[in-house]
């Protein structure tokens, strides 16, 4: 395994870590308006209260790692998706502000306004992530000079990327509901269990549609399955993980359910990465113009230095993450330090 492959994995791990961790924050946001009661909405916010900010750091660090390891991809994708990124930034900022200020005033209009902003920010960012993934699978208008030949928001909204956007929305919503199941109790938890059940239905339909559409329209995404037969193992494990969700929910295994939906997200992202490999951004204009883990990478020396930095840093990151989740384990109690 060469250093470029290691960095492909590391960037993938950071972005998957982001999807697993912030995935449920975003999912909670999507579900926020479905509950009407103000006290329950505070429970929702405080379920993610101590962790959402740290979860978002995975995205920021993933972006930084992409910049350091594959600068050509960072430059090309961020400038090519200009308006989509601006919209994403707006959604993420509004979302953060809504969490921060929503419960600071008792007025109903104030809270309703920020609740709507929180939900909308979560939905928009989730769907945008999915649309970006869908466009990458479908191939990007990358020219010979490594940059997009056309930009613009509307060009991103072809049916397939929109389908992937909805799929990611259902994935994160389900994940968020399963997280809330862990953090709530009583009547509210009963309600959430119902959502998990319904969410699971939506998710399955969209998962099936997305899988079929990908195989039919973009068969190159499964080329690597014949090259690396162990890819079937990942696909199989992902299926098993999906089947494990209703089982764990039925048995009331709250932690296992959350780990399982995390595994579904990780498996799905792994299959996405495997389908692209060794491309990072495929060009639909000419396969030779695709940005790969080789032609878009930093120098081997920088990749080696960055690997040492990652090896020093990641154990700390994991230690903080685990201790914070351990410290704030258990059901949500709203107190005077809460949102």
């Amino acid at each position: 395994m060469d250093i470029n492959v290691i960095w492909f994995l590391l960037v993938g791990i950071l972005l998957t870590g982001y999807a697993v961790l912030d995935g449920f924050d975003l999912g909670v946001g999507v579900l926020h308006l479905f509950i009407r009661n103000d006290e329950y909405r505070r429970v929702f916010l405080n379920a993610i209260g101590p962790v959402w900010d740290g979860n978002e750091v995975w995205l920021v660090t993933g972006g930084g790692a992409l910049f350091a390891a594959f600068p050509t991809v960072y430059a090309s994708a961020f400038s090519g998706f200009y308006m989509a990124f601006m919209l994403l930034l707006a959604a993420l900022i509004f979302r953060a502000v809504a969490i921060e200020f929503r419960s600071k005033e008792p007025w109903a209009w104030w809270r309703n306004l920020w609740d709507a902003v929180f939900a909308l920010g979560s939905i928009v960012s989730t769907v945008l992530f999915g649309i970006a993934l869908g466009n990458i699978i479908a191939g990007l208008p990358i020219g010979e000079d490594t940059y997009f030949t056309q930009t613009g928001l509307l060009g991103l909204l072809a049916p397939y990327p929109v389908l992937v956007g909805l799929f990611v929305l259902s994935l994160f919503t389900l994940h968020g509901a399963i997280y809330l199941n862990l953090k709530t109790e009583g009547e509210l938890q009963d309600q959430i269990r119902l959502w998990v059940l319904r969410g699971f239905g939506f998710f399955n339909v969209l998962y099936m549609m997305t899988t079929v559409a990908t195989i039919v329209w973009y068969p190159h995404m499964i080329d690597n399955f014949s090259r690396y037969p162990w890819a079937w193992v990942i696909a199989g494990l992902t299926m098993l993980a999906i089947a494990n969700i209703p089982r764990t929910m039925h048995k009331g295994l709250e932690y296992q359910a959350l780990f399982t939906s995390g595994a579904v997200i990780s498996g799905t992202f792994a299959l996405f990465g495997l389908g692209l490999f060794p491309d990072l951004l495929p060009s639909r204009l000419n396969p030779d113009w695709s940005l790969t883990i080789y032609n878009a990478a930093s120098s081997p020396q920088t990749l080696h230095i960055m690997l040492i930095i990652a090896l020093i840093g990641m154990p700390f990151v994991l230690a903080y993450t685990v201790s914070i989740y351990w410290m704030f384990r258990g059901k949500v109690k709203v107190d005077k330090f809460s949102y």
């Binding site: 978002e56 350091a68 200009y82 308006m83």
Partner: protein
């Protein structure tokens, strides 16, 4: 001209970075002050320090969340608006940004949760540790950003290599990139700027309470901790800044010439105390010079020759007016802050500080000083680097994203203006609410407060006047 994408991207970057930079300096400095306050609480068990820590943590959290929300924009904007730059420098500059994420951001965000929500969940010692880690994380973050910026200012430790048909900078000597000629000075300058920001911020709110006769013990003690900090840090900042001037003179002579509006190469180069650079005629009008001072400050010799702007090729000259004025603004405010904090310290020693209402009002408004100085310092540093985005290697004109059209950038500038305007209003509103609410009253415990309050009275020369009855001590 205004529709040129490069200019628009510059406008957007300047606007978003200046707005972002309203918040990090306060986080860096206030983080440090929180370590002091909570450390004093652990040591003395005086509940006054606990009330102080809890109050300033709330302000810290508000400020920090603003910094995070506006900081994500910065991380993405290199790629969105400066794609050519990103491609060119990613091998060097990207590493510093990724390191900031992995070493500093995770640390800050993780322990911030303990700091804010952990009061009832962890022991006081663990909480104090979390405070230390948040303060350390904010400072460490500043380190990596200054590594990145210092390389842009004085690029060293790299080589220019052809990659996939285009030139780019690659790391040749990692440690030389990390510890460039100006990195430590620039980092120290930024961190001290944060400490000054935080001490004047604390003094401003404390002085307001003293004037309004609210939370008096809380306000006095907060004020004094911040005053001592400011009196120590402001002169130190002047020394670090002066050292930075020497570095600029050595490595970025055109920038020094712009700071000083020094057009013609000469010995005994003068420092213009004030003056109006006339860029059309390459001269300074109505100036008050101190002969030889620029020679002395940059080279250590009043007779040393300092190269003038006109001896640089025209396409390599930075603009003069903006660096010249913003540099003077920063230095002027710095001098004012040194004088103000030492005057305050002297009057505190004379035990008359808290009776001087006019001076307390001066302190209330002087919080604007460090805000303006921190911004002006960066403006001088960044505009002075022009026309280069990486000094001597890559021009700003060539660094922007070529595929992004002017109309999209106009749109995003409008979006950021709307969002940041709203954010700023909410920030001011929330800050005002926290100030009006004030610290929580301290739980009544006979040993805990009477003695320290008595001691304090003796120390400050305050008499127990009836107005103190409104204070939290009696609310218990």
């Amino acid at each position: 001209m205004a529709m040129d994408p490069v200019t628009l991207s510059r406008v957007q970057f300047a606007w978003t970075i200046m707005f972002h930079y309203l918040f990090p300096p306060l986080s860096i400095g206030l983080g440090g002050l929180l370590v002091l306050m909570e450390g004093m609480y652990l040591k003395t068990k005086n509940p006054l320090y606990e009330a102080m820590t809890k109050f300033w943590v709330k302000v810290f959290a508000l400020n920090f969340s603003m910094g995070v929300a506006t900081g994500i924009v910065m991380e993405f904007q290199f790629g969105t608006n400066w794609a050519t730059y990103s491609r060119f420098v990613g091998d060097v500059f990207g590493a510093a940004l990724a390191s900031e994420g992995i070493f500093a951001f995770f640390l800050e965000s993780g322990f911030l949760a303990v700091l804010l929500f952990g009061w009832n969940r962890v022991s006081p010692k663990v909480h104090f540790f979390a405070t230390c880690m948040v303060a350390f994380g904010a400072t460490f973050s500043a380190f990596w950003i200054n590594v990145a910026n210092s390389w842009q200012q004085i690029p060293v430790g790299h080589r220019i290599v052809a990659h996939a048909g285009e030139l780019r900078a690659e790391v040749a000597d990692f440690w030389a990139v990390i510890l460039g000629p100006s990195t430590l000075e620039r980092f120290t300058h930024a961190v001290l700027g944060g400490w000054i920001q935080a001490s004047f911020f604390v003094m401003s709110i404390a002085a307001f309470y003293l004037l309004k006769q609210r939370h008096l013990d809380f306000a006095r003690r907060s004020f004094v901790i911040a005053l001592i900090t400011a009196a120590l840090v402001t002169p130190l900042q002047a020394m670090v800044g002066s050292r930075q001037g020497e570095i600029v003179g050595e490595y970025q002579p055109a920038k020094l010439a712009a700071f000083e509006a020094h057009y013609h190469t000469s010995r005994q180069a003068p420092l213009w105390l004030i003056g109006f650079p006339d860029e059309a005629h390459d001269t300074v009008r109505f100036g008050v010079p101190i002969p030889g001072l620029v020679s002395f400050l940059s080279k250590g010799d009043f007779n040393a020759e300092v190269k003038g702007l006109l001896d640089f090729p025209k396409q390599d000259r930075p603009p003069v007016a903006v660096p010249f004025y913003s540099f003077r603004l920063m230095v002027g405010i710095g001098m004012y802050l040194i004088a103000l904090s030492w005057l305050g310290l002297y009057l505190f020693w004379r035990k008359t500080l808290f009776q001087k209402r006019w001076l307390l009002w001066v302190f209330v408004f002087s919080v604007l000083g460090p805000y303006i100085a921190n911004q002006a310092g960066w403006v001088a540093a960044e505009v002075g680097r022009q026309p280069w985005i990486v000094y001597g290697i890559l021009r700003t004109q060539e660094a922007a994203s070529k595929v992004v059209v002017a109309q999209d950038i106009l749109w995003s500038i409008a979006m950021f203006t709307a969002i940041y305007g709203l954010l700023f209003l909410i920030f001011l509103y929330s800050l005002n609410r926290k100030i009006q609410h004030g610290p929580d009253p301290v739980a009544e415990s006979p040993q805990a407060h009477h003695r320290p309050v008595q001691e304090w009275m003796e120390l400050t020369g305050e008499r127990n006047d009836p107005a103190d009855k409104t204070d939290w001590v009696d609310e218990g």
